[in-house]
């Protein structure tokens, strides 16, 4: 799903990767230095955070194969996480991005870490927003794929009744549009699950030490999906990482604490740019 506001012009770039096996769809918006945004499990949505980012940066948002509109079967061409990481790296190279910053939310945070660990020279800076990818026995990650749809609000948001939760979870009023939107989100969750099923620990803990990029870790203190102890896990395993835990905030800081999140991310990203 990509819901752009009328003010934001989104360009769709189709990048052939994997020797022609996959056409990776990358949505591009804004102007300025390049930032790569890696979307969460439910697919890409142009929320106000991304729109504000696009005012200062050129946002490149690749879509996990299968989750881009009109190309649901592309997921079948990708085998596993290793395959996906190589396809993404290839796509970023083909786009000619010079040390772009990587921002990853949840599932996208894991993918950003994998890219930054596998290709330490690839990213400028790295921003993780409530990333998954690690596992502690005392703080198991909740299986969001197996969560009943009506319980997702309580899992993802500090305030499930709040405006942010409502805006994100209310399907369109038109039944036709609602069927399309729900099917797209469901399928996106299914596609991304392929890379983390059944337990979202694919050995990232062994690779985090390879990350060289300056890193900012932002977390919601009330994250019920990936508890805030994981902020410290990422922070302590990535050299020099800065950790910010936000109050009154669940799993999606850019929706539930948009001002604070944007301020932190924007400040961090500008710090990574050499003064010109």
């Amino acid at each position: 799903m990509s819901r752009g506001t009328p003010s934001l012009e989104i360009e769709e770039r189709v990048v052939p990767v994997g020797d022609g096996r996959v056409e990776l769809v990358v949505q591009v918006a804004g102007s300025g230095p390049p930032v790569v945004y890696l979307h969460p499990a439910a697919g890409l949505a142009w929320d106000p955070f991304l729109e504000r980012l696009a005012a200062e940066w050129t946002v490149y948002a690749p879509q996990v194969p299968g989750t881009a509109a009109g190309r649901p079967d592309a997921i079948r061409a990708v085998d596993d996480l290793w395959d996906l990481v190589l396809l993404y790296e290839e796509a970023l190279r083909r786009l000619g991005l010079e040390r772009p910053d990587l921002i990853g939310q949840s599932f996208g945070g894991m993918l950003a870490c994998e890219l930054a660990a596998t290709f330490p020279k690839l990213p400028g800076g790295l921003v993780l927003l409530d990333a998954i990818g690690l596992w502690r026995e005392d703080a198991p990650i909740v299986n969001w794929v197996a969560t009943a749809p009506e319980q997702l609000g309580a899992l993802l948001f500090h305030d499930p009744e709040g405006e942010a939760a409502r805006a994100a979870l209310t399907p369109p009023e038109d039944p036709d549009a609602a069927a399309v939107a729900i099917a797209a989100t469901t399928w996106a969750i299914g596609c991304t699950a392929k890379f983390v099923w059944p337990v979202p620990d694919k050995g990232l803990v062994k690779r985090l030490h390879r990350i060289e990029a300056p890193t900012l870790v932002v977390w919601g203190r009330e994250d019920r999906l990936a508890p805030a102890v994981y902020a410290e896990e990422f922070g302590s395993r990535i050299a020099g990482a800065r950790v910010e835990v936000l109050d009154d905030c669940g799993h999606i800081p850019q929706l539930e604490q948009p001002e604070k999140t944007f301020a932190l991310v924007s400040e961090f990203l500008w710090q990574q740019r050499p003064a010109t």
Partner: protein
């Protein structure tokens, strides 16, 4: 019509208020809290004894299926009870069929093991195996066995191809699949039936699976739990339409159907004797499977999800089964209940209308006691079975989906 006895192995002592606790009947159902070892033993010995009673009472076959982490069918591997049945068939009813409605090829991580187990069962039973090959339930394949939902169907197809090749290839071969690799496949034993045992594919009625079933020449099996008066027209009309489009004759033996039945002297007595067990079995069993467990994201493709949102009719009573009353279950024919006359008539009407050649009756469910179950089996076998077996007999259709058996060639 071939009429077989289908049994599940429910834990028979679930608390009366189980369905009100909001606990699922699958995946996370607490075991130690609910199960006493001696009662687990009872549940299994009755399960086996009832199947053997059915075999001895003259059913054309006996049938079991697979459910992992399931309180209403404790059968993580149906080939274990099937091995008991294979021996009983060999000794007592060599013309009966051994129907395993399925080991799921979408769930398994060891497809060759299923091929080999089935081959052994065919050998042990004297070529009496019907090999069920279901895709597998989403919760079982994906939650219980860790298969990524989006891979379930691709794995099913690949595992099917491997199984078939392992049964029919004249030469050992290397299997370099996407989901499994074997350096040399050379199964000992292989099925007695050549080229392979009849294949039945149980399913929920997905058009893609139906088409695939027909293209491969297999039989399709559907079940009554969600209320045939609500779903059967949709499912069977769809099946026969797809069959027409594939140029496959409307041979009734191409279709199997699982129907739960309780029979007594009169309609009133049937309700009186079985009603509360039936009601509780539906509420506590399939009625307590959370709906979203039936299709985790990725298990049904994006077009399928959209179609189900627009029209959820294929699922009949499913959404309200947890609160279903005996009356609703009987009215929708989730269960057929009544006197022998009523049961004969209702099943015959149904089987003729939808062209069902292979019927599987389920005569025990939930906590229904052993004695009452044996009575249900006996009454059905005596008063109903012989009548139903006449249906389609002497007609133009061959049951190509029935085990062929093998003649004994060497005297001991």
């Amino acid at each position: 019509m071939k009429v077989s006895l289908f049994q599940q192995a429910p834990y028979r002592f679930m608390p009366e208020d189980f369905e009100e606790r909001g606990e699922p009947s699958v995946v996370s159902t607490p075991y130690d809290e609910l199960v006493e070892p001696a009662k687990a033993f009872d549940s299994y010995r009755w399960f086996v004894d009832e199947l053997l009673a059915g075999l001895r009472a003259g059913f054309d076959g006996v049938a079991v299926t697979e459910h992992g982490q399931t309180s209403y069918d404790m059968t993580p591997n149906p080939n274990l009870p099937a091995a008991i049945l294979a021996n009983a068939i060999r000794e007592e009813r060599p013309e009966a069929a051994l129907i395993v409605l399925g080991r799921s090829l979408g769930k398994t991580r060891e497809p060759l093991r299923i091929a080999e187990e089935y081959a052994m069962l065919d050998c042990l039973s004297g070529g009496r195996l019907v090999a069920g090959l279901p895709v597998g339930l989403s919760y079982d394949a994906n939650l219980n066995n860790g298969i990524p939902p989006v891979e379930t169907r691709d794995r099913y197809r690949e595992s099917h191809d491997l199984l078939m090749r392992s049964w029919t290839s004249p030469e050992p071969f290397t299997w370099n699949g996407r989901y499994s690799q074997y350096s040399l496949v050379n199964s000992w034993p292989r099925p007695l039936q050549k080229p392979h045992p009849p294949i039945w594919v149980p399913g929920a009625g997905t058009p893609g699976t139906m088409a695939w079933t027909l293209e491969n020449g297999y039989a399709f099996v559907y079940l009554s739990w969600f209320g045939p008066t609500l779903t059967a027209h949709r499912i069977f009309d769809r099946f026969w339409d797809i069959a027409d489009r594939h140029g496959k004759p409307r041979n009734p033996y191409r279709v199997g159907f699982v129907q739960s039945v309780v029979v007594s002297e009169t309609d009133e007595a049937a309700e009186e004797e079985y009603g509360r067990y039936v009601e509780r079995a539906f509420r506590q069993g399939p009625g307590s499977v959370p709906l979203h467990y039936m299709g985790l994201p990725g298990y049904v493709d994006i077009r399928g999800v959209e179609a189900i949102i627009r029209d959820p009719g294929d699922f009949g009573l499913a959404a309200t089964l947890r609160r279903a009353t005996f009356r609703e279950l009987a009215d929708t024919r989730s269960v057929i209940a009544g006197s022998p006359e009523t049961v004969r008539r209702q099943i015959a009407e149904f089987a003729e209308e939808f062209r069902i050649g292979n019927l599987l009756v389920m005569l025990q469910m939930g906590g229904m006691p052993h004695d009452l179950t044996l009575r249900n089996i006996r009454l059905f076998a005596e008063e109903v079975l012989p009548h139903l077996q006449e249906l389609w007999r002497g007609g133009e259709w061959e049951n190509e989906w029935w085990p062929a058996g093998i003649a004994q060639t060497v005297e001991a």
